[in-house]
């Protein structure tokens, strides 16, 4: 090592004494990508159960929208049934948007994202794990709550399986789209408005096909076509969204 001095900085040896003698200890076996993603998922789940208020907020929002609607419109079940698909899906979309704002915020704030980006693991896999955790904590409970909301809107019990399937599959895509939006708006203070501006247009296909599937299920018609389109969107999102989110996170860290 040679001491050098430069325009902006100076380099000088201060205390030199020992030479390294011991050989580098054999490196500990690295965790594989699957194990890393599993731990990232578990970490987020455990954190969510430590902070239940954040977990309950979107679900409470969804419950309030769908349960207040019959009170505000009319108690006439035939009319409510007509409105049910729209109410359910707008409620689910907004609830998922509400939740996605928190997806990366704490991690960016406390340096966890930085450690993820520098972990030597695939950031895409870690982003996928985070999004999966987010879906398990918001989309999946929303799907479980959908029957309750549907019943309050006068939907018959025979339509419920179709509705649960539609919300479960559709919310996967909503979480994935949300992860891109949340990652893109990481550096911005009070990003809520921009986040909705970015994600809502992308979410429209989910809204349309989800509402259509729900409508068909309510009328007892086969809802395969819109459900399959929802599934196709979820597959497309799963392959592309984590890549985009990882790239956006890298940019936000610079």
């Amino acid at each position: 090592m040679s001491p050098e001095s430069h325009a902006g900085h100076a380099l000088a040896p201060v205390r030199t004494s020992l030479e390294p003698t011991a050989e580098t200890a054999p490196a500990a076996p690295a965790a594989d990508a699957f194990e890393a993603a599993r731990l990232a998922l578990l970490r987020d789940l455990q954190l969510a159960f430590r902070k239940r208020s954040q977990l309950i907020q979107p679900l409470a929002f969804f419950a309030m929208v769908t349960l207040l609607f019959p009170l505000a419109v009319s108690p006439e079940l035939s009319r409510l049934r007509e409105l049910a698909p729209g109410v359910l899906w707008v409620g689910a979309l907004l609830a998922s948007l509400l939740a996605v704002e928190f997806l990366f915020r704490d991690d960016a704030y406390d340096g966890t994202l930085e450690q993820y980006a520098l972990s030597g693991q695939s950031l895409t896999a870690l982003m996928f794990a985070k999004t999966l955790a987010h879906w398990l904590l918001t989309g999946f409970p929303l799907a479980l709550m959908a029957p309750l909301a549907a019943l309050s809107l006068g939907v018959s019990a025979s339509a419920l399986p179709g509705i649960v399937a539609a919300v479960a599959v559709g919310s996967v895509t909503l979480s994935l789209i949300g992860s891109i939006g949340a990652a893109l708006t990481l550096g911005i203070k009070r990003s809520g408005a921009l986040l909705s501006l970015l994600t809502l247009p992308l979410s429209l296909p989910v809204l349309i096909f989800g509402a259509r599937a729900t409508e068909l299920a309510i009328h007892g018609a086969p809802a395969h076509a819109p459900l399959e389109l929802l599934a196709a969107l979820a597959v497309l999102g799963t392959t592309l969204a984590p890549l985009a989110a990882a790239a956006a996170v890298r940019i936000s860290l610079e």
């Binding site: 090592m1 040679s2 001491p3 050098e4 430069h6 325009a7 902006g8 900085h9 100076a10 380099l11 000088a12 040896p13 201060v14 205390r15 030199t16 004494s17 020992l18 030479e19 390294p20 003698t21 011991a22 050989e23 580098t24 200890a25 490196a27 500990a28 076996p29 690295a30 965790a31 194990e35 890393a36 731990l39 990232a40 578990l42 970490r43 455990q46 954190l47 430590r50 902070k51 704490d106 406390d110 340096g111 966890t112 930085e114 450690q115 993820y116 980006a117 520098l118 972990s119 030597g120 693991q121 695939s122 870690l126 860290l253 610079e254």
Partner: protein
């Protein structure tokens, strides 16, 4: 593994109109420590973040074992541990859980190793408490245990002795000494200098 080196050539970085890094240039061999000094705002943190590849420099390059780190950033990241000035800990998890997830994402880790590392930094007595209840110095000790557990050749530490008492500063010096004795390398950004017991030290002065 015998020829591990970190070389930095002519690093230039602008932040808007401000020329932060003006031709930073150094080389670090196995078992050597670099102390990056400078006033607040002289670019110590920026330099560390540029070294680990979070920031793209406008000019110059970082070489790890003679290879530009940009060619395989993930392999380089697997060889480095970066500690920013805030310990990367979740306040709602306990110290032990934090290390379990943070380190487990990178390497296989046994519970005994984890306990030993916590004992090494004197954190055993509070490792089952949620991090939100710990003091800044206690958090830093936990973060240091994490860095040591990563068992990687290159440490990049941003203000490692901040918030630590005299005993804690000696602990940092001890951990750095062990890392150097293993043939590892340390780059530490410090505004008041590392404890005098750190040997094999070179100082890099950044002008504001």
């Amino acid at each position: 593994m015998a020829d591990q080196t970190l070389e930095v050539e002519n690093l230039h970085l602008w932040r808007g109109e401000h020329h932060v890094l003006r031709g930073v240039h150094f080389a670090l061999a196995r078992g050597a420590c670099l102390e990056v000094c400078g006033a607040n705002g002289s670019g110590k943190t920026t330099l560390l973040r540029t070294l680990c590849g979070l920031i793209y420099p406008e000019d110059g390059r970082v070489l790890w074992n003679g290879e530009n780190v940009r060619r395989d950033l993930r392999a380089f990241h697997a060889a480095l541990a970066y500690l920013g000035h805030e310990p990367p800990l979740k306040s709602d998890l306990t110290a032990r859980e934090n290390l379990h997830y943070w380190i487990g994402i990178r390497r296989q880790l046994s519970a005994e190793e984890l306990t030993a590392a916590l004992a090494r930094v004197g954190a055993l007595s509070f490792c089952e408490r949620q991090v939100r209840t710990l003091s800044a110095g206690q958090r830093r000790r936990v973060a240091l245990a994490g860095i040591a557990l990563l068992a990687v050749p290159l440490w990049l530490l941003d203000e490692p002795v901040t918030n630590l008492d005299a005993e804690g500063r000696e602990l940092v010096a001890g951990l750095i000494g062990e890392q150097l004795a293993r043939g590892g390398m340390v780059v530490a950004a410090v505004h008041q200098g590392l404890p005098p017991s750190v040997r094999n030290l070179t100082r890099l002065e950044l002008a504001a």
